[in-house]
Symmetry: C2
Subunit: 143 residues, 2 copies
Amino acid sequence: MTETAPPADASLPAIGVRTTRQRQAILTALTGRTHPMTAQAVHTALTGAGHRIGLSTVYRALHRLAEVGLLHSFEVGGERAYRRCPDTTHQHLLCDKCGLITECPPHLVDAWLTELRATTGFTPHADRIDLHGHCADCTAAAR
Amino acid sequence: MTETAPPADASLPAIGVRTTRQRQAILTALTGRTHPMTAQAVHTALTGAGHRIGLSTVYRALHRLAEVGLLHSFEVGGERAYRRCPDTTHQHLLCDKCGLITECPPHLVDAWLTELRATTGFTPHADRIDLHGHCADCTAAAR
DNA sequence: CTCCGTGCAAAGCATTTGCATCCAT
DNA sequence: ATGGATGCAAATGCTTTGCACGGAG
């Protein structure tokens, strides 16, 4: 398994993306978050924190950063939200209650996907799976 | 598990939905389709076929019909698309190439979901799973 | 020095909503 | 008759785009 642990903030140029104050701010804002953020949310957070950045810049930056793989994007209630990827796993478990996103154990999925493909002929995109449900905490809280 | 096998076109009132010319037209337009349609597409199709129906009516009707379980809705490229449900299975395989939607063999998923839940504590919504990939035909065509 | 990236404001678009009218029950 | 359904048009809200300026490499 190739580790692509996301560089703290740096090495953007290595991926063909210029390092700018705005992009660094966005990456920083997204770092450590388990919940995804929409462009608007990121913009609000940044400007609220004193940063000077345009909304369209946020949209463009998020799009670009997702494109080069530094961010993952999700469809949340008709809006697009982004989160830093903690690892190379692109198989996510989305909690519809609290918004938490966790990684799905790859081995657990891969075997199943193989079976699914063999059985149905359908070739699933193993590198982009979003499964909705309730996270462990919310499940426990509901009891 | 409650059976909600979709009545051909009829018995709308039984579900608490009034039978109107427009809703029947929408259901008819959607019948037999393997690919989902957006509200705009449905509206275009209907008006093109000579029906008199407002766009907002289409939006409202689709929303309502999906609500009562006669339709399934999907997120396709940032737009909402609808399709009649051929059965009670709400586990779909979406082809990102041709747009085809097929049902996923329930038994195949259920076992896996159980395992997933046991392993991670995450409770997946077993009745609403959309898996992206390439359908059998598109997979074959790509070789 | 060259372009990529940014900001601002205008434009795009799918979807929603207000309100008067209409029709299914 | 009565409340849900419809149509039209205006409004909403997220996202994109045009264009000139600024900063990274």
